[in-house]
């Protein structure tokens, strides 16, 4: 039994932690949160230079080819500091979609640009309220043109390229759309977490290039969401740990009734519960990382389980962090709300708990029937 990350991954984690602690301070996050910018280009450039954007992209497309274990490690550290960059949309979603469905020519065209940080890309799936469902895709694709409305699209106002799920004569298909072309209009959306850009994108006969076979994309979409759920679970675990550390530190230094508030059992038991939830989520995420890096048959169940666990843990950790801080936790100046906002955003970004819990049971039923 060796249920741990490799020494290489651990080294990568240390480097990432050191870099992000210095370069992605709460000040950097707040710069985006407070509307001064839609992302942090400096951080993005540095991540590209360190090879993070291509961590799991094969070397033949200029990636680092480190594999998915390495990407999971990076995701956890990026999540821990709430990095305000289009990492998830570009790396977990767009690059993965191109790897899964793209032609060799498409991979050679786009992936090296993603690796170098020259191309921000995203995945446009949602069309308003609802869970990820095939029947909910209404955007129309015909004769190389796309028409429809997608929202919210993560990093939708800063991305140059979108992988769009749309319906053509044979079913749901994927298409690549240059977001700077005519027929595309977009506007940034106010979000519960403004530290991550989101947009509403309207396509009106915009030029679209097919990505993969026509009408057979929903299976790919579901696999894409499963894989992204694992990486997002690592972001959630990283951020849950950061929230717990923040609450624990405050409980040790804040005095009330003549003693540190962390000596009261009401606070201890609350933080013990957060610790338990976070460790269970971490363990589920580790297993999912194993499934992702070995492309195991268990991946769909492992992904849904990790997702459910990590969403619960981060939301619990973020909301109790505010509670432990008391009044100051509700102020703009304390960082508690940064985590709280991100917790809810990530809890919804790939579908709500309702969707993922149903996926867990559906996978269990499939397994039992087999």
């Amino acid at each position: 039994m060796n249920f741990d990350f490799s020494d290489d991954s651990k080294l990568l984690r240390e480097q990432a932690q050191r870099f992000l602690r210095e370069q992605c301070t709460p000040k950097v996050v707040r710069h985006v949160l407070e509307g001064h910018a839609a992302t942090s280009p400096e951080l993005w450039r540095a991540m590209a230079e360190m090879g993070w954007l291509g961590a799991a992209i094969p070397e033949r497309y200029d990636g680092a080819g480190l594999g998915y274990e390495a990407l999971c490690v990076l995701a956890e550290e990026i999540g821990r500091v709430l990095a305000p960059v289009p990492f998830a949309s570009t790396v977990y979603l767009a690059a993965e979609a191109i790897l899964a469905a793209g032609s060799e020519a498409q991979k050679r065209e786009y992936l090296p640009k993603i690796v170098r940080g020259e191309l921000i890309a995203t995945f446009a799936l949602a069309e308003g309220a609802g869970e990820p469902r095939e029947a909910a895709i209404r955007a129309r694709l015909s004769d190389g043109r796309i028409t429809g409305s997608k929202w919210p699209v993560p990093d939708g106002s800063i991305a140059q390229l979108a992988v769009v799920a749309a319906r053509d004569s044979s079913g749901v298909s994927l298409a690549l759309v240059d977001l700077t072309s005519s027929g595309v209009s977009r506007r940034a959306l106010p979000m519960v977490d403004p530290s991550r850009d989101h947009a509403k994108i309207d396509f009106d006969n915009a030029p679209a290039v097919p990505l993969g076979a026509s009408g057979q994309a929903w299976d790919i979409v579901r696999r894409l969401l499963d894989r992204a759920a694992i990486l997002t679970a690592f972001e959630q675990v990283g951020a849950a740990s950061a929230s717990l550390e923040m609450a624990t530190a405050y409980a040790k230094e804040r005095f009330a009734f003549g003693r540190p508030i962390g000596s009261f059992q009401a606070i201890k038991h609350k933080l013990a519960d957060v610790y338990v939830a976070t460790e269970l989520a971490r363990s589920n995420a580790y297993y999912a990382a194993w499934a992702l890096s070995t492309d195991a048959a268990e991946l769909p169940l492992a992904a849904a389980t990790a997702r459910v666990s990590a969403t619960d843990a981060f939301y619990l950790a973020a909301k109790e962090n505010i509670q432990v801080h008391g009044g100051v936790g509700f102020t703009w100046d304390y960082d508690c709300h940064l985590f709280y906002r991100r917790a809810k955003l990530l809890a919804l970004s790939l579908g709500s708990q309702r969707y993922w819990k149903d996926r867990v049971v559906a996978e269990l039923e499939t397994r039992n029937a087999a």
């Binding site: 039994m1 060796n2 249920f3 741990d4 990350f5 490799s6 274990e69 717990l244 624990t248 409980a251 040790k252 003693r259 540190p260 962390g262 000596s263 009261f264 059992q265 606070i267 201890k268 038991h269 933080l271 013990a272 519960d273 610790y275 338990v276 460790e279 269970l280 989520a281 363990s283 589920n284 580790y286 297993y287 990382a289 194993w290 890096s293 849904a304 389980t305 459910v308 666990s309 619960d312 708990q353 309702r354 993922w356 819990k357 149903d358 867990v360 049971v361 269990l364 039923e365 039992n368």
Partner: protein
């Protein structure tokens, strides 16, 4: 990452499995009743026979040194053995407390000639040990105990009462914690002994539990005479001895409990809600997903701990996670399973209630799991203080002599 045994581990597992195969049938998951019942004399006889056989084959005391009859093996080997043994219809293990807690304490504190006398018979299952710490006035607050030990010549005279003693009714020896000096601070006035449970002055009375079974006892001491040679540690140093014992407690506890999630899924597939299988109901699916995430989270947390152990780490308080989560989950699953049966959920007739009334049985036995071996609340304190490093509670009993402490009416 991988989940494979090393070649050495695989060889040990094969050896263990061959030995078990020759001794007992493998467990059939859904066959037979699962009840939380009493341990009767016939079961104890079977348990003793199995323990002797295990010891002779080198599968008892796997991590113990060879000089005590152990195997001199690794913690990983012990874990592999536990995994394998759990797959077979072996008798109830009545030696867990003795071998997991009492004898390790003896090895730390008893005299060499006493170890020669007691360790091997315990390992072979010839003598059963119990732990006599908890009292009516000291459960979570063990150091609040009141059983008096008074020195008379070269012996001590013991008077008082213990409670919640698992297996006292079939035990031969016990590890006893007493108050030898009530005039000093409570932790400073304790002294530990080992005693003969069959000696005059020891009376065991089984406790009739809310579940109907009697796994725990009250033990009364009336002028019990214990030779000073059976004292463990110095007079007044009993708390240190108790810590040695309790450190082993959360390692000794850890059996598989039913109904588990798989049982709940089986039930949810077989009963109907509103004309369709209960498992199709979104509210049922949501709960199953929650418990699946918790169960798997615990499984993989164990894997992480095992990985650390196999690299030579010592188990830490992180193990408290498993007990906190499992105890609550058992009670919740029992209750939720009964809810799925609607108006008939309360029926305990094993012929009528699904799965031999496993859910109803567990409803009534599960409250004990949240209390025994460290309450939910104490475990959360342990996590908060020893893992997160939060400060200890303010202690009003810290600098006060024991006999000056307020006792309350209960």
């Amino acid at each position: 990452m991988d989940f494979d045994d090393t070649p050495e581990e695989a060889a040990f597992r094969a050896e263990a499995r061959a030995f078990l195969n020759a001794s007992f049938p493998r467990k059939q998951r859904s066959g037979g009743a699962h009840r939380y019942g009493d341990t009767d004399a016939a079961e104890i006889a079977r348990a003793k026979a199995w323990q002797a056989k295990k010891a002779d084959a080198g599968f008892a005391g796997i991590t113990w040194p060879k000089e005590w009859g152990g195997r001199g093996g690794t913690p990983m080997q012990q874990i592999i053995w536990n995994q394998e043994e759990a797959e077979y219809e072996v008798p109830h293990n009545v030696f867990l407390i003795g071998l997991g807690m009492c004898i390790p304490t003896m090895i730390a504190y008893a005299r060499p000639e006493q170890l020669q006398r007691y360790v091997r018979p315990a390992l072979r299952g010839e003598e059963i040990w119990c732990q006599l710490f908890s009292e009516p006035a000291g459960g979570s607050d063990v150091a609040g105990l009141r059983t008096r030990a008074e020195k008379r010549g070269d012996a001590w005279v013991i008077n008082g009462q213990k409670i919640w003693t698992s297996g006292a009714h079939y035990s031969d020896y016990g590890l006893l914690l007493t108050r030898s000096d009530p005039t000093v601070q409570k932790h400073a006035g304790l002294t530990a002994f080992f005693i003969d449970m069959h000696a005059p002055g020891v009376e065991v009375r089984p406790i009739h539990q809310m579940s109907g079974a009697s796994n725990f006892n009250e033990v009364f001491f009336t002028d019990l005479r214990v030779p000073d040679a059976q004292r463990l540690g110095a007079p007044g140093a009993g708390w240190k001895v108790a810590i040695t014992t309790l450190m082993n407690e959360r390692l000794a506890v850890g059996e598989i409990r039913r109904p588990d999630l798989q049982d709940l899924i089986e039930l949810a597939r077989s009963v109907e809600l509103d004309g369709r299988p209960a498992i199709a109901d979104p509210s049922v699916r949501e709960r199953i997903a929650d418990w699946h995430a918790k169960s798997q989270g615990l499984t993989y947390t164990r894997f992480r701990i095992l990985t650390a152990l196999s690299r030579g780490a010592t188990p830490g308080p992180e193990n408290s996670i498993a007990k906190v989560v499992n105890a609550a989950k058992l009670q919740e699953i029992a209750s939720f399973g009964m809810d799925l049966l609607g108006m008939a959920g309360g029926v305990m007739d094993p012929e009528l209630a699904p799965m031999h009334a496993m859910f109803q049985d567990a409803l009534l036995s599960s409250p004990s799991h949240r209390i025994a071996g460290g309450t939910d609340e104490i475990l959360r304190n342990i996590i908060a203080e020893r893992v997160l490093g939060l400060p200890g509670d303010v202690r009003v009993d810290k600098d006060v002599a024991f006999n000056q402490l307020p006792g309350g009416s209960r």
